[in-house]
């Protein structure tokens, strides 16, 4: 009995040692997703980023571990489980994971954390986000040109700044091509609920919208547009295969280069706590191929995308008038300040809606 026990202990020890050696040679990177990997939207796109980083870094990284479908209120345990299981860097990919990530980061100072779309940092916790609104400006321009009914249906999740700035950028883009067009907004209070999103899409189509756009994660609204013979935009990922005749383009998140670069920095011992906020210019936001539109609209969209990438065009170039016609820019400023966009809780002029409070 005793020998058996000793043997087991020795086996356990050697196993632990082997684990340690492996960890020393390879960086283990882990991810936490808010939705299912199969949402083909936001979480799917983060997972594509994970796979891209795994491919780019090859043997240097173990990027096989992720937890999906984690509710915000239950995320602290999930993040801590990852930290305990030997992850060297943990990417927590949703806003709601902010405080839980910070709590776990303080408990595990040797593990690095990266939180998407939040603002709290720690010496071992960075933040990163994408300027999704840049892509929405391009989409607004296209929608302005393509609409025949001058009505664009806009399905939205929650009134957080990221969503509001998206609506505003869309509106400003649309005004440059069609001042008569209006957006109709429906709040569905969910990030991912194909049934609810499809219902909202049907309602908007019935109200005369001939183009749909969405800030929710499933392909359902786009599929409804396809069924009705109308047009729409993909969200987070290229949804062309769901709506080959309807998708004009999609505002896709491209996290691969960022993940690769951050893990490489950790391998090189150069990882630092930072705040990253990139857009089309750094390829964090990528427009899916422009389709289902005439060549002149396509050419204009390509040009706008290039101008935003180079910085020649700013979606929130001053003046930025709010619904009351008041200019929200600092006197003499060229564009709205980053902080104003990151905390946006007001609509620009032209948006016919009230932000739910």
């Amino acid at each position: 009995m005793r020998t058996l026990f000793t043997a087991a202990a020795v086996a356990a020890l050697s196993l632990a040692a082997a684990g340690g050696a492996e960890a020393a040679g390879k960086v283990k990177a882990c991810w936490v997703y808010t939705g299912p990997v199969g949402d083909f939207g936001y979480s799917y796109q983060h997972d594509q980023g994970r796979l891209a980083a795994a491919k780019a870094l090859g043997d240097k990284v173990d990027a096989t571990t992720f937890l999906e479908n984690i509710p915000d209120s239950d995320s602290e345990r999930a993040i801590e489980q990852l930290a305990r299981s030997g992850c060297n860097i943990v990417f927590t990919t949703s806003f709601g994971f902010m405080d839980p990530t910070l709590k776990v980061a303080k408990k595990f100072p040797k593990v690095m954390f990266e939180h998407a779309t939040g603002y709290k940092r720690n010496p071992n916790m960075s933040t990163y986000a994408a300027k999704f609104y840049e892509g929405r400006y391009v989409m607004g321009q296209i929608a302005g040109k393509m609409t025949k009914t001058n009505t664009i249906g806009y399905i939205v999740s929650f009134p957080i700044p990221e969503v509001i700035s998206g609506i505003n950028a869309f509106e400003r883009g649309m005004q440059t091509t069609n001042p008569n067009a209006k957006i109709k907004i429906v709040w569905v209070n969910t990030w991912f609920d194909p049934g609810k999103e499809a219902d909202a899409a049907k309602a908007l189509l019935a109200q005369g919208a001939d183009i749909l756009t969405q800030h929710t994660d499933s392909a359902a609204p786009l599929q409804e547009a396809e069924k009705a013979g109308k047009l729409g935009f993909g969200q987070s990922s290229d949804m062309m295969k769901f709506a080959p005749k309807a998708q004009l383009t999609a505002n896709t998140d491209n996290w691969g280069p960022y993940y690769t670069q951050r893990i490489q920095a950790l391998i090189d011992g150069k990882w630092k706590s930072e705040d990253t906020w990139d857009g089309i210019g750094k390829n964090m936001v990528v427009m899916a191929p422009f389709a289902n539109m005439p060549d002149d609209v396509k050419a204009a969209a390509v040009k706008t995308t290039a101008d935003i990438a180079s910085g020649a065009l700013q979606p929130f170039a001053c003046p930025v008038l709010d619904q009351d016609g008041k200019d929200r820019c600092k006197p003499g400023a060229k564009t709205l300040e980053d902080g104003d966009v990151l905390g946006m809780n007001w609509y620009v002029k032209g948006v016919d809606d009230k932000i739910p409070q």
Partner: protein, 362 residues
């Protein structure tokens, strides 16, 4: 061929105890087959799901923390369900309690209202407010049922959505952290409003101890008090209870009050002990999972206590399996479904005998 169910002539305690254990074993076997079909090691999966979480202090604490709200809510539900009252709205009562108790934590933020008394009273008051919030919220379906004969199934369920949207509104509006970049979260609760962690570096907070405490008290109430007897009698034989002079309305209201109060207490303990702030959503569906726990535990407090721990184990083990074996998270949900079906099937088999009849109708 035909399959008949014949009631067994007498109930056997042994059979009733063995049924859930057998169900658990069958569920594990089915899960093992699924994992084997996926081309993975069944032994390793069993180890990761059920053995590893039980062999580390950290995951034991995680299981207890996850089980506590489930047990608290489910024990409360047992009072309703035994009285044949179908409170489906524990999720809403959980939120109401978390919100009202959490509110006190927000208004006492940064030393407010602590001038004369100090801060010792905040936590107890939060717990009381939490229970009160859930209790009052449960009174809506209870009174509608008693006075107007409104189905409590519908009213309690629909009030869940009302509670969810109300909390959502509060956190986006009046309770929003003024320095939170306009994002929908409250400030973090101060240490004075946070249930203390029992072991340094762990996750086990004081509120978790409420679960065994409440389960024991409820077990005594059911087995030793007149009220416990009344609840059961109103549920199983309402006419007899009325002839016996019991007021079924009072008992209905009392059962809802206990159920709502415990759900509210679970809510405030979760907000104060675990989340540490108010969010648009403070429950990953505890109020609904607790319905499963209540039935897995056969509406007995001791059974519920065990069932809550088993369900929590499948959650924590499921996450471990995602991390260690890269098994999909959906497998955990599927397994929980299989477990529930097995328990219900075993329940039937414990009370009925299967009889195969060859040929057509007899």
């Amino acid at each position: 061929m035909r399959l008949d169910l014949d009631a067994r002539p007498q109930r056997s305690t042994l059979r009733e105890i063995l049924a859930p254990v057998g169900a658990l074993i069958v569920a594990i076997l089915i899960g093992g087959v699924v994992i084997a079909l996926m081309g993975r090691s069944t032994i390793e999966a069993f180890d990761v799901y059920f053995v590893e979480p039980l062999s580390q202090s950290y995951s034991l604490q995680a299981i207890a923390v996850k089980a506590a709200p489930l047990i608290l809510i489910a024990v409360g539900l047992a009072f309703c369900y035994r009285a044949n009252l179908w409170n489906i709205g524990a999720e809403g009562q959980f939120i109401a309690g978390g919100a009202l108790g959490g509110w006190l934590g927000l208004v006492t933020h940064d030393g407010a209202f602590q001038g004369v008394l100090g801060s010792w009273w905040i936590l107890p008051a939060m717990m009381i407010l939490g229970a009160l919030g859930g209790l009052l919220y449960a009174m809506i379906p209870a009174l509608l049922r008693v006075w107007l004969n409104v189905s409590e199934i519908l009213s309690s369920l629909m009030l869940v959505y009302v509670a969810q949207l109300a909390l959502d509104w509060l956190v986006r509006g009046p309770w929003k952290d003024p320095e939170g970049h306009n994002l929908p979260v409250s400030v973090n609760l101060d240490p004075e409003a946070t249930l203390p962690i029992l072991f340094d570096g762990g996750s086990l907070h004081l509120g978790v101890l409420l679960a065994p405490l409440v389960a024991i008290v409820a077990a005594i109430v059911f087995s030793k008090t007149l009220f416990g007897y009344q609840v059961r009698l109103v549920g199983s034989a309402p006419k007899a209870a009325r002839f016996g002079g019991f007021n079924d309305r009072t008992i209905a209201i009392a059962a809802f009050a206990i159920s709502g109060g415990l759900a509210g207490l679970a809510g405030v303990a979760e907000v104060s002990g675990r989340i540490g702030q108010l969010l648009p959503s403070i429950s990953p569906g505890y109020g609904f999972s607790a319905i499963i726990v209540a039935f897995l535990g056969r509406l007995s407090p001791v059974g519920i206590f065990i069932a809550g721990l088993v369900l929590a184990l499948t959650f924590v083990g499921g996450e471990d399996a995602q991390i260690a074996m890269h098994l999909p998270g959906d497998l955990t949900l599927a397994f929980q479904g299989v477990l529930l079906i097995c328990v219900l099937a075993a329940d039937v088999l414990a009370r009925y005998r299967l009889r195969f009849t060859m040929g057509a109708r007899s």
